[in-house]
C-alpha cells in the first residue's frame, strides 16, 4: 500500500457523494432507455395495428363475398301478376288456341 495516499474524512465523504450521483445517473439513464426503446418499439411494431385492420375489414368483405355468390338468390320472391280483367266465357268461335306446343 502506498503510504502517500492517505485519505481524510472529507475525501471519503466526497467519494461517497460521487458514487451516489453515479448510481442515480445510471438508474435514470436506464429508465430513460427503457422508455425510449419502448416508445420506439410502439411506433415500429405493426402487429396490433394489422389485427385491428383485419377486424374492421372482415364485415364488409364477408358481405361483399356473399353478395357475389348469391346475388341471384338474395332478391325477394316476385309476385306473379294477375291480368286486370278476369277471363269470361265466350260462345263465339275462337280466334286462336292455347295449348301445349
Amino acid at each position: 500500500m502506498n503510504p502517500t495516499l492517505r485519505t481524510s474524512p472529507s475525501d471519503r465523504t466526497r467519494a461517497v457523494r460521487r458514487l451516489r450521483s453515479l448510481t442515480m445517473c445510471t438508474a435514470l439513464a436506464g429508465l430513460a432507455a427503457v422508455g425510449g426503446f419502448g416508445y420506439l418499439a410502439a411506433l415500429t411494431y405493426e402487429g396490433d395495428k394489422a389485427a385491428t385492420t383485419t377486424a374492421v375489414i372482415t364485415t364488409p368483405s364477408t358481405t361483399s363475398s356473399s353478395s357475389t355468390s348469391s346475388s341471384t338468390a338474395a332478391t325477394p320472391s316476385p309476385t306473379l301478376q294477375a291480368a286486370t280483367s278476369a277471363p269470361t266465357t265466350s260462345t263465339s268461335r275462337a280466334q286462336v288456341t292455347t295449348g301445349g306446343s
Binding site: 357475389t68 355468390s69 348469391s70 346475388s71 341471384t72 338468390a73 332478391t75 325477394p76 320472391s77 316476385p78 309476385t79 306473379l80 301478376q81 294477375a82 291480368a83 286486370t84 280483367s85 278476369a86 277471363p87 269470361t88 266465357t89 265466350s90 260462345t91 263465339s92 268461335r93 275462337a94 280466334q95 286462336v96 288456341t97 292455347t98 295449348g99 301445349g100 306446343s101
Partner: protein, 316 residues
C-alpha cells in the same frame, strides 16, 4: 265502333305464330313481330350453335350479355324465384340427357338416339347474374334452357313491338300474338274480348268444339305433358323437367292453362302448376291466377276465377 280483325299465320322458332290485329295495319304488325322473333332466335335459341346463349353455355367466365339475353335471363330467374325453384332455367343438361338435344321437329321423328339417362339439375342459384352491368357467369357444367319462359317472353316482346308499330288511330288498335299457344295481347281488345280455345295442344284448330274464354287484356299460356313427347329406350318422355329429380315431371295434371298480366307470368304459373301436382289449385288460388287444370284422366278443375264452360263452335 269495332275495328276489323285481320290475322296472319306462319312458322318461326319451331312453332306456329299467329298475329291478329284489331283496327290496325296487319303488315306493319307482322313485320314488327318477325323482327322480334329473328332477334330471339339469334339470341337465345338452344339449338343454334351460333346463338348468344350457346356461346354463354360454353363459358364459365363472367360474360357481358346483350339486353335481349339479359331480359331472357331475368325472366327465367323471375320464374325460379316465384316458384321456389320449380321453374328452373338450369335444366339444359338434364333436357339433353333425356334426348331433347335438337329441334323437336328432328327428335320427334328420330327412332334412335342417345341412351336415356338422368342428369341432376344444378339449380338456378348457380347462375351469377349481375343486372347492373348485364354480366353473367355460369358454374362449370351448367346449361341454360329458357324453354319455360323464353317463348312467352318472345310473345310479350312481339306484341308490344307490334302495337308500337301501329299508328294511333281513333280508339286505338289492338294486337294478339300467339307463339305455339303462348298468347299475349296489347291495346284495345275486340268487342267481347279476344276469344281463345283452351286445349291440350296448340295444334288444335280454333274452330274445334271446346271451351272458349274471352280476354280483355293480359295473356294466357298452357303447359302440357301431352305434347313434345318422344320415346327413348322404350320409355316415353316429355319436355317438362322436374328440377327436383332431373326427370320428366310425373304429375296428376296433363295440361295447365293460366291467365296472367303477361305471358311470362302465365307460362311460369302454368309450368309450376304441372310440377306442383296436387298443390296446384291452392297455389294458383293464393295468387289470384285463373287456371284450368286437366287431370291425366280428363277431369277438369277450374280455379281462381276461370269461367265455367260454355261450349262453342260447331257441335257435331
Amino acid at each position: 265502333m269495332t275495328g276489323r280483325s285481320r290475322a296472319a299465320r306462319w312458322r318461326a322458332l319451331g312453332t306456329d305464330v299467329d298475329v291478329i290485329v284489331e283496327g290496325g295495319d296487319l303488315e306493319l304488325a307482322t313485320n314488327a313481330v318477325e323482327r322480334v322473333l329473328l332477334d330471339v332466335d339469334r339470341t337465345y335459341s338452344r339449338f343454334r350453335p351460333d346463338s348468344e346463349l350457346s356461346g354463354l353455355n360454353n363459358r364459365t367466365t363472367a360474360t357481358s350479355v346483350s339486353p335481349l339475353l339479359a331480359w331472357a335471363i331475368e325472366a327465367a330467374l323471375r320464374g325460379a324465384r316465384a316458384t321456389d325453384g320449380l321453374v328452373d332455367p338450369t335444366v339444359g343438361r338434364a333436357m339433353r340427357a333425356i334426348g331433347y338435344d335438337e329441334d323437336f321437329a328432328v327428335i320427334g321423328h328420330r327412332n334412335s338416339g342417345p341412351v336415356l339417362h338422368l342428369e341432376p339439375v344444378p339449380g338456378w342459384q348457380a347462375i351469377d347474374y349481375q343486372a347492373v352491368n348485364r354480366t353473367v357467369r355460369l358454374r362449370p357444367g351448367i346449361e341454360l334452357d329458357f324453354g319455360s319462359t323464353g317463348k312467352a317472353l318472345a310473345a310479350d316482346l312481339a306484341v308490344a313491338a307490334a302495337l308500337a308499330a301501329l299508328p294511333a288511330l281513333g280508339a286505338g288498335a289492338g294486337v294478339l300474338v300467339s307463339l305455339g299457344g303462348d298468347v299475349a295481347t296489347a291495346g284495345r281488345a275486340p268487342e267481347g274480348g279476344w276469344r281463345i280455345l283452351a286445349a291440350d295442344s296448340s295444334a288444335t284448330a280454333p274452330e274445334t268444339e271446346g271451351e272458349v274464354i274471352a280476354l280483355s287484356d293480359g295473356a294466357i299460356a298452357t303447359s302440357s305433358t301431352t305434347v313434345r313427347r318422344w320415346t327413348r329406350d322404350e320409355t316415353t318422355v316429355h319436355h317438362i323437367i322436374d328440377p327436383r329429380t332431373g326427370a320428366p315431371a310425373d304429375s296428376p295434371w296433363r295440361t295447365a292453362s293460366v291467365v296472367a298480366a303477361t305471358c311470362v307470368d302465365a307460362n311460369i304459373a302454368a309450368t309450376a302448376a304441372i310440377l306442383l301436382g296436387d298443390g296446384a289449385p291452392e297455389w294458383l288460388t293464393a295468387r289470384g291466377l285463373p287456371g284450368r287444370l286437366v287431370a291425366v284422366d280428363g277431369r277438369i278443375e277450374r280455379v281462381a276465377g276461370w269461367p265455367s264452360p260454355a261450349f262453342a263452335g260447331s257441335p257435331a
